[in-house]
């Protein structure tokens, strides 16, 4: 559900206080100081120390162990599959998400409000239920005769389901703000529909699309619950990284599990930075 973190950059308010702050570095009273202390202790115990423990466990065996783990045949295959599926799902989301946002903002038809709820449903549904939901229609007792269990198509479908809202929900507000008059002006100056879309609309939407895409990619790469019932976990065929981590944990190989986890985090960071750079270039070219 991490849709919103790119929309709201970070809660730090305007710049000016920075300079004014110098004479008094802290505005904490004694009571709020104690509160802050307690909050930081809880946050460290719950989040910071455990996450550090993962990095430590990955680094514990040294660089060689780390490399050996992630280049091991099955694990490397799982990571490749995860990244490939996530990339594919992100591409579909970029196209379909933008189209859905477009229809929701610009089109008018009865029942449109129902679609709004339908789009949020994949966020609200527990992931294991999402898996079960897809299995009930596209699983062993499928009423339509499609069975995606233990296939890569099944993984693709599950990822498509859980990442549905990201691009829609980041593009929609930007599209709402977008002035239709600019498009009309472009059209009246003789621009074709395709040109208007490419030169006017796309640059304006690019940052939002990239933000949604990176959220979708990050989610797809770390997805677990919806894949448990569907993926089937055949090594080198339908085993994704998160399920490989589970297998390592259940086999008491915590260091190996941590290595894959750290690698996934790295891939996610690289892709998010790359998408941000691309969107800036598109937006600047105009």
């Amino acid at each position: 559900m991490s849709t919103l973190d790119t929309e709201r950059p970070e809660p730090a308010p305007a710049q000016p206080p920075l300079r004014r702050r110098r004479p008094r570095r802290s505005t904490l009273t004694r009571a709020s100081g104690v509160g802050l202390g307690l909050a930081v202790v809880w946050f460290s115990l719950l989040v910071l120390i455990p996450l550090a423990a993962v990095v430590i466990a990955a680094a514990d065996g040294g660089w060689d162990t780390f490399v050996n783990t992630i280049t091991d045949g099955d694990t490397a295959a799982a990571i490749r599959l995860t990244v490939a599926e996530a990339a594919l799902v992100t591409i579909v989301n970029v196209v379909m998400g933008t189209v859905i946002a477009w229809v929701l903002v610009r089109d008018r038809f009865p029942g449109k409000r129902v679609l709004e709820v339908v789009i949020d449903l994949p966020f609200a549904l527990p992931t294991i239920v999402a898996g079960l939901v897809l299995l009930s229609l596209y699983g062993p007792d499928s009423p339509v005769g499609v069975n995606v269990v233990n296939t890569r198509q099944g993984i693709f479908l599950a990822l498509l389901f859980v990442t549905l809202p990201f691009v829609v929900r980041t593009v929609q507000p930007v599209l709402l703000e977008l002035d239709a008059e600019v498009e009309e002006a472009a059209a009246s100056l003789g621009a074709s529909r395709a040109t208007t879309f490419r030169r006017i609309i796309l640059p304006a939407l690019a940052p939002a699309i990239a933000a949604g895409a990176s959220l979708a990619f990050a989610r797809a790469i770390s997805e677990f619950g919806s894949l448990v019932l569907i993926a089937g976990n055949q090594p080198r065929n339908t085993e994704v990284a998160s399920l490989k981590i589970l297998k390592y944990i259940e086999g008491d190989q915590q260091a190996a599990a941590a290595s894959v986890a750290v690698l996934l985090l790295l891939v996610a960071v690289v892709v998010i930075v790359a998408l941000d750079l691309i969107s800036r270039r598109v937006a600047a070219r105009g």
Binding site: A39, A57, L115, S136, I245
Partner: protein, 297 residues
């Protein structure tokens, strides 16, 4: 002079022209509409409706309907699982709400070293894979291989494979939800009212209860609903830190997985149906609250 001001009469034709532009949709618009509806139907609507249908369907020749569904849901194992889910979610939401409101006020209303770092780190938990969350907690709190394992062993306190671990895993994955709702509201309203209250002699607590809390009320409610929905549905992190066996750390989501794995699909669909209803309920509550919140601000 007066005719320089556009009268409703002037606006009439313009608006009409605009409406005509709006209603003049090419085949492309209709194609996109059909594509979107079909996509959402096959990906979300149809599958979800099949689950609901299966929850009420006859099983092994026995008749379906509400009665048998109720029977499956009042099975002792199912009652235990939903009970555990509610207990764990309740505590996780309580912790996240107190922590979330507190840290939001500290981040917005106070200046202290490390504030910026903290505000970035707060968002971290939602971008970590649930499996990694589970792994992180195990590596820290498991008595055999955790960092704090020896301490926990000495005090006899069990976290992993026990309810505290479930609460921590659930609190971890839903941590930023309240904060993300409260911080923008606090930033928007500013601290004038609080300063005024304090200058009139109110102490910190009074200013909080009488001024701050009423202004962020709806944001908190919104965050609580989001956290509760997320907490009830958490699966991945919970799976790693819990034994997940019947009557032994099996939450509702773990029950679904176990029953489905044991080819007891009817029970899995019954529990899934309850979670679908809860999810839809949360969405409805959220759509009802949203306008109210924006109306207030």
């Amino acid at each position: 002079m007066a005719d320089a001001i556009p009268t409703p009469l002037d606006a009439g034709p313009v608006q009409e022209a605009k409406r005509r532009v709006r209603s003049k949709r090419g085949p492309l618009a209709y194609t996109l509409r059909v594509v979107v509806i079909a996509y959402l139907f096959f990906l979300v609507v149809w599958p979800v409706s099949v689950v609901v249908q299966r929850a009420f369907a006859p099983v092994d020749g026995k008749p379906g309907g509400i009665g048998p569904l109720w029977e499956r849901l009042t099975d002792p194992a199912a009652i235990y699982a939903f009970n555990l889910t509610l207990t764990v979610s309740f505590w996780a939401v309580v912790i996240n709400t107190i922590f979330g409101v507190g840290i939001s006020i500290l981040l917005v209303r106070h200046r202290f070293p490390g504030r910026r770092v903290l505000s970035v780190l707060i968002d971290l938990p939602m971008s970590v894979s649930p499996v990694v969350v589970g792994l992180a907690l195990v590596l820290t709190y498991s008595t055999s291989l955790g960092i704090f394992g020896d301490v926990l062993q000495a005090t006899g306190l069990r976290i992993i494979n026990s309810t505290p671990g479930l609460i921590m895993a659930t609190a971890f994955v839903s941590l930023p939800l309240v904060i993300r709702e409260v911080i923008p509201v606090l930033e928007e309203v500013g601290d004038d009212a609080e300063t005024a209250a304090k200058s009139l002699g109110a102490n910190g607590w009074q200013a909080f209860w009488r001024i701050t809390l009423p202004t962020i009320k709806w944001a908190v409610v919104y965050g609580v609903v989001l956290s509760a929905a997320r907490a009830i549905g958490e699966y991945g992190a919970v799976r790693i830190v819990s034994r997940g066996a019947e009557f032994n750390g099996e939450t509702a989501t773990l029950l679904i997985q176990n029953e489905y794995g044991a080819f007891n699909e009817a029970a899995a669909y019954a529990a899934a149906f309850v979670l679908v209803v809860l999810a839809v309920l949360a969405l409805v509550v959220i759509t009802v609250i949203r306008p109210q919140e924006s109306h207030r601000s």
